[in-house]
Amino acid sequence: MSLVNKLKFRINEDSDRFSELPEDIIHYILSFLPIKDVVRARILSKTWKSLNNSYEIMLDLHYDHNSFALELLLDSEIEPEIDEIRDKFMHYADNHLSRVVQQQIPVLKLAVNVAVIGSEFCGVNHLMELVRKARVEELSIFVQTQDFHWYDDEVVFDEGIILYEFPYSITEAKWLRSLTLQGCKFISNNNSGMYSSLQQLYLSQVLLFSDEALSNIANCCPEIEVIEFDCCFFRIDNLKLSKFPKLKKATVKGDHSNLQSVDITETNLESFWCNSLDLDCLMNLAACSNIRELKLKQCNIGLDLLKDLTTYFPLLENAKLSSVIPYTEVLDRITVANPHLRSLKLLFDRVIQEISINCPKLSHFDYTGAGFEEVYLDCPRLRTCYYDSREVPRLILLDSPTDMQYNFYRFDVDYKLDKSWFISIRKFLEQIARYNTADGFVLDEFEGVQAFKPKNVHLQVQILYGGPETNQFSTAFVDGLVWITRPTTLSVGCDCYHFVKYLCEKIAEKSRDSSCCDQQLCSKYWWHNISDFEVKHKEKDMTQNLASLVEMTKQSRRGLSGRLRPVDLMPFHFKFEWHSIERQPQH
């Protein structure tokens, strides 16, 4: 040891001797590294960059039957036969890949898309043999057959379907980390003793013949951490993910014929995504305890878990739950109090009595659905809030920072609505504007003294239907809405002719008739309380030109989509300044 210490002392005086290694040794060292690390090493120094650049790697290698066939068709005068195309393509891929294999050039991504005629799989087998020898890190294989094409959406997985039987031996390739398969089948196969270091497996439209086939994959690929099933065909009704001992992330999406349930019990998953109609997700307390990311859509996880996300998912950071309540069940209350939760996105298509969110780290809350009657949000770190529902919540209690980036509420309005809707909106505003509620509020047919003065309400109105019969409604709607909310800004869009027409008529009359207004603010007509206003269409100032603005609304298209840029959906922009109660209105 003393010799070693001496050595360290002596040699440390030299600097950057590492870069003095001969080029071939540097290349040899690089050959032990994954390509990502090789590329990252380019940034170390100029010497490293030039040494690194002379080391040959391939980032993307693609053999695609379809584009090859297209080129061949465009180049030749007589349309080539299908087997001629196949043969030429195979020949080309074979030649090219052989060279890569022979020189052991590392390949980051290799994609192979081949077409098989009838059951002639020998060409594919030969190519796969080459693929197995290549130094590939991410492999993607798509085998088309007469029963399974790239343009075929509806594949019928019946008994006689011709599909390429995926050779397990491919997974043994030393550098392989990620494998994507489309249109192959796995059959059970005695392949004990085979070992693969594969970490990520993505299966799309793959046929899994039996539970043993799945066990086989799990046995020869024990390192798998990420797995995805996308529209696969199972001959089993329960997918047991505990077969994969190191699994961290699992995704099940699309329609999976036959499959009834996904079982994640006895796994240690960190991320679970399931988007598959009517699939049952079997979970238990232990299985969920490590989950940080949970995205579920249209599947059923059981009401007990939903009711108590906090206990079941103690580490949850990101959750997205859409339509996860079965129609036969009733859920009246959801409580979320997860200490690590940062983002929560919910979509429920039925009214639920109460939601209570009490998460110290939550920064994004997003809800779309029928509505909650009572909403309790206690989230001191909330940055954005998007709440979109049919019904206005009866009670909303917010404890969130005052400097939120984005605080958006959206409610649907039926054009036959009555006064009570405005009352509920006013109550709602009163509740969320908690710093302004001290004065109390009395609403008497919109004519009461306006003691509660909402501040900084930014109103966006998107009228999905505004046909001639809504003329009367628009008048009442504008009156009610503006009176109740006293918006600082108001953006309108879509089918909004009647709305804008009436609005413009009234703001043009501002302060004109002063006979009705006493010393206080006008308690009859909201437009008498406007001290100043600005009107814009997109960026163009239209304040002096209200008549042509109204004409422009006729061209405003009807839009239904909810999340375009607001400026495109609601291009008519009003900005108001209001007389305050302390000041005498100027008549």
Binding site: M1, L3, V4, K6, L7, K8, R10, I11, N12, D14, S15, D16, R17, F18, S19, E20, L21, P22, I25, Y28, I29, L30, S31, F32, L33, P34, I35, K36, D37, V39, R40, A41, R42, I43, L44, S45, K46, W48, K49
Partner: protein, 164 residues
Amino acid sequence: MASSSSSSLSRVVVKSSDNNLFVVNKKVASQSQLLKQCIDNMEEKGTNDVILIPLSNVTSNILTLVLEYCEKHADFADDDNNNQELKQWDHEFLKKFDYATLNSLTMAADYMVTKSLLNLCCQFIADSIKDLTVQQIRQIFDIKNDFTPQEEADIKNENAWAFR
């Protein structure tokens, strides 16, 4: 004894770049293809003299380490069963050095054509790079960053996927 055959020659002398002499058992020396080639050549000539092999590129400090490695591997040369033990020893052996030493050792292994040691060193260096940040690699390997911030940003942009 005077007419001893070439096979009776059991030791060679290796001279380091700083003129230190090392007496090495032939079996140990054979771990290096360079030394083995020299010995074979001399033996073909039928010389009975002690063979002296000068290594102009390897200092005695590094040579000591290479020979330590060769000695251990010569011990295990006929024994396949103790592979695991040898692997463990290899790992412990390299773990002791700082990267500058490792660097010299790698060069010596390359020069002396000791393929398994070269393999071992390169794999070891690669493994150490694998999980480090660029900053850490520069620090440990004492690599001076001679890029301007703009050049560095350009490389990052060109290969954005690798820096994610």
